[in-house]
């Protein structure tokens, strides 16, 4: 009789999927709902008193306004810079555009707080390298730049969050059927006329999408505002939340909760509003054989523009990274940068310092476990989404997207109040809570990658295996997983890398024995040990670089962060 075996297939499949859904419900839905619940249900009654109290304090209200203001400013500047850059790199004969493209996309993988540290080294008013150099060269009496201020904050955030916009816009540009532009050329429009009348309107949805990513990224950012904003008394929601949590009191946590819910609602509002707006502008076009885009010839503007783009690349990446590397080797910060002021001693000392190496190892382990668990869950979430037709198959995927879209600080706070014993699960100060947090935040990266790859595998391949008598698990193991193998590795790295250098959630969730590398770096920066901070920053950058190279190798260049 065949029947029992079919039933078994069925069971294994649904058990696996149910487990994935269960984990998502427990670690995504429950904490978020509980967070909201706790902000409005205080001592048994329902009211908005916490919100009233919190926003009655001008500091909090100011932080809210700052968050919106800074996010908007950074979003506008990012889009205004990224669109021309993406166009130059994707549609013109700009020299070295392949290199520029890779570089701008790669700058996305620099942890923002490392960027902030670098810019404090470059442009702090009393000892910034750039300030010193300009003062010495031009005989200035006063430092020309001061990173500690609103301008510095927006500058630094723009440099490290604009890659979101650049990546979104340039991907969309690559996907756009070039004959849409060619049709405009042949109709008599010049290259610039085509850019204005065809390319720009068609890119509108992805410009918005990229802008939204930047907006939410900046609104949820903690590293840069903490390192650059706080010393200048500029507070945003995330820094207020961390301050409240660090008070350690019940009231502190409650106030943090109210702020976190505000941040979450603001982020979700923007996200859904933009999705709604974009859904109505669904520009799906039938595309024929992909033709290679005709490159706009820049003519005499070619080299000046190449110079300008190089300058941007230099300022955005080379300058800050160079500053970190040099600082990691400098003997005395009060002396100028000369060869005899450089040494490897900082490095040797740091590498033998257990206080540094332990957090490095902690981050490595937690990120690896989170990445492995996330990849496993993502396989089932993606399978349910792509390969089944059941009702509700999109729900786990939406939950993982929700996790990814929720500001990190909100996830961290929700996890801490939910899993400090309230529901019979006490993860407080454990490695587990870090792992859960990373998983919730970055699971969607793995799901996206694996789902994309699964959708390329034709169902008949799997059906052939089932027909040959394999159980569902066997066919998953023998057919599906080998075929999507590269995407599993890619998905793993896409979770591992951001988890490895994570700061915002870790700063709330770490315990004395579970300090992570991000937290350590932040401490070193605030306690003014720039050399050691730079050594660790270089180590982080190196590990990310290696991870990214592996990722590109595995995905044959298709995926990289």
């Amino acid at each position: 009789m065949e029947k029992p075996s079919i039933l078994q297939n069925f069971d294994a499949k649904w058990a696996a999927i149910a487990a994935a859904v269960g984990i998502l419900l427990l670690f995504v839905v429950l904490p978020m709902l509980y967070l909201i619940w706790r902000s409005v249900f205080i001592e048994g009654s329902f009211h908005f008193e916490t919100y009233r109290q919190v926003y009655a304090q001008s500091a909090n209200w100011k932080a809210f306004i700052n968050t919106i203001y800074v996010s908007l400013a950074v979003t506008f500047v990012s889009v205004a810079v990224s669109f021309p850059l993406a166009w130059l790199v994707g549609r013109t004969d700009l020299p070295g555009k392949g290199f520029f493209r890779t570089t701008f996309i790669a700058s996305y993988m620099i942890p923002p707080y490392v960027g902030a540290i670098a810019w404090t080294q470059l442009t702090s008013p009393n000892a910034g390298y750039l300030n010193d150099w300009l003062m010495a060269t031009f005989g200035l009496a006063k430092a020309p730049f001061d990173i500690y201020g609103m301008g510095g904050l927006i500058w630094c955030l723009t440099l490290f969050y604009s890659p979101f916009a650049f990546i979104t816009i340039s991907r969309a540009l690559e996907k756009m059927d070039p004959s849409l532009e060619e049709a405009s050329r042949i109709a008599g429009a010049s290259p610039l006329g085509t850019l204005w009348r065809v390319t720009l309107p068609l890119m509108f949805p992805s410009v918005i999408a990229g802008g939204v990513l930047v907006f939410i990224g900046v609104g949820s950012a903690f590293g840069i505002p903490a390192i650059i904003g706080m010393p200048a008394q500029i507070e945003v929601l995330t820094t207020r939340i961390v301050t409240y949590v660090y008070l350690g009191t019940g009231k502190g946590v409650r106030d943090a909760t109210a702020l976190a819910v505000s941040l979450m609602l603001a982020a979700n509002f923007i996200l859904y509003a933009s999705t709604w707006l974009l859904a109505r502008k669904d520009y799906v076009t039938i595309s024929g054989k992909s033709t290679r885009p005709v490159l706009v010839e820049l003519g005499r503007w070619k080299w000046p523009l190449a110079g300008l783009v190089s300058l941007y690349g230099f300022i955005a990446i080379i300058l800050p990274m160079g500053s970190i590397v040099i600082t990691s080797m400098i003997k005395s910060l009060s002396r100028p940068i000369t060869l005899d002021n450089l040494t490897f001693r900082n490095w040797l000392a740091a590498l033998h310092n257990d206080q540094y190496m332990t957090p490095l190892w902690t981050s490595f382990v937690t990120a690896a476990v989170a990445a492995t668990a996330a990849t496993a869950i993502a396989v089932f979430v993606a399978y349910l989404l792509i390969k089944t037709r059941t009702r509700g198959r999109t729900i786990p995927d939406s939950l993982s997207t929700l996790g990814g879209a929720t500001p990190s600080i909100v996830i961290a706070l929700a996890l801490i109040i939910t899993f400090s014993g309230e529901f019979g699960l006490n993860l407080y100060n454990t490695l587990a809570i870090l792992i859960v947090a990373y998983m919730v935040k970055y699971l969607t990266m793995a799901v996206r990658t694996i789902a994309a790859s699964m959708s390329q595998v034709h169902s008949s391949l799997e059906e052939a295996a089932l027909n040959s008598g394999a159980t569902w698990l066997q066919s998953l193991r023998d057919i599906m997983l080998p075929l999507i193998g590269p995407s599993l590795v890619a998905g793993w790295f896409l979770v591992f890398m951001p988890s490895f250098y994570e700061l915002t959630m870790s700063i709330i969730l770490y315990g004395s024995k579970t300090k992570t590398i991000g937290v350590l770096l932040y401490e070193l920066q605030t306690y003014a040990d720039p050399q050691d901070a730079s050594v660790l920053a270089v180590i982080i950058l190196f590990i990310i670089l290696v991870g990214n190279i592996i990722l590109r190798k595995v995905s044959k260049g298709a995926i990289g962060i």
Binding site: S179, A183, A187, G188, K281
Partner: protein, 347 residues
């Protein structure tokens, strides 16, 4: 006057010669197709005429104007060539209505609103889209989008129209009726057409002349009858229509074809191994006895015709015959054959 003269144009992508020494002329008001298998360089040639690619060598004239000449450093960009073009993917702009799409070339020219309206509506009527002017492309079927693209290409009344596999995204029925429509429009407007396709039926049905290409090189230029009945070589014979190839040997006194048991007159300069090519419709079935006798291997019923596979002198040939004939014969039976029109090529 929109004659196209393509003088020995070569296009290299790196080391790959996509188009190699292409020389052809399209007369004023003529409909010429470039026909060839996938990857043979058809699109590349068309795009050089449009101005989207620059030749590596050679010259292109549109009318009396030299538009591309790497030697003389001349290159006229697409927007200055006054050409209409229909793309394989239609390239209808999704953010504009049908009216805006079609009126775009006129708007770029800076015509007055009222004139744009008149001429756009005229173009829309021409392709039978009169009622759909205010729709968005996403609300149109593939065939309708195709017509929008056609109207847009014609609205500015260009002398020259370029089409790159415009029908390949349509279903078979629609493709046939659009062939007819495009041809009618061309006749009515007197526009010069350069048409790229890999579908030989399409090329035969519409063209005044066909340029047959393979691997970047022109193999033959001729009208549909010439290309079909006297293909320049084996490759073209095989590419255009169905054909049976039989071993043959050229020698003193003609070409010997063992399978047909006959010797035919040899084309000049042929010696040694050769191939004989016979179109399936040039073979007639008969009762066994008279003439050649073969053995039926297989027959496939196709509705109006039957596709026969017959063994003849150790080789297998294909015969297409009316379905009503020789119904009683089946695999294993002997059957008579008479062969008309044999083409001979070097092996």
């Amino acid at each position: 006057m929109a004659e196209i003269r393509i003088n020995c144009v070569t296009k290299k992508f790196g080391e790959v010669k996509a188009v190699d020494n292409f020389c052809a002329t399209v007369g004023d008001g003529e409909f010429v197709s470039i026909l060839g298998p996938s990857g043979c360089g058809k699109t590349t040639m068309l795009r050089m005429v449009a101005g989207f690619e620059k030749p590596t060598a050679g010259e292109i004239y549109i009318g009396d104007r030299l538009v591309s000449s790497p030697d003389k450093g001349i290159y006229v960009p697409p927007e200055k060539r006054s050409i209409g073009m229909v793309f394989q993917s239609y390239a209808v702009w999704p953010h504009m209505t049908v009216f805006e799409n079609v009126g775009y070339p006129l708007k770029i020219k800076g015509l007055a609103k009222s004139e744009i309206a008149v001429r756009t509506n005229k173009a829309l009527d021409l392709v039978h889209l009169g009622g759909l002017a205010q729709r968005l492309p996403s609300q149109l079927s593939g065939g309708q989008q195709q017509r929008v693209a056609l109207a847009r290409a014609l609205v500015a009344e260009p002398d020259l129209l370029l089409l790159d596999e415009p029908l390949s995204n349509l279903d078979a029925k629609l493709r046939e009726s659009m062939r007819f429509e495009i041809k009618e429009l061309q006749k009515k407007l007197g526009v010069t057409v350069l048409y790229v396709t890999h579908d030989q039926a399409e090329a035969m049905a519409m063209s005044d002349r066909i340029v047959v290409m393979n691997a970047g090189v022109i193999h033959q230029i001729g009208d549909p009858v010439q290309v079909y009945e006297t293909p320049a070589n084996k490759v073209i014979a095989d590419f255009i229509g169905l054909v049976n190839f039989l071993d043959a040997e050229a020698g003193e006194g003609g070409v010997k074809i063992p399978a047909l048991g006959r010797t035919v007159h040899a084309p000049a300069g042929l010696g040694g191994k050769a191939v004989a090519a016979v179109r399936p419709e040039n073979i007639a079935l008969a009762a066994p006895g008279a003439g050649l006798t073969g053995t039926v291997i297989h027959k496939s019923y196709l509705g109006d015709t039957v596709d026969w596979r017959i063994e003849l002198g150790g080789e297998q040939i294909r015969v297409i015959a009316p379905a009503s004939a020789f119904q009683e014969y089946s695999a294993g039976d002997s059957i008579g054959l008479s062969v008309d029109k044999v083409m001979i090529f070097p092996a």
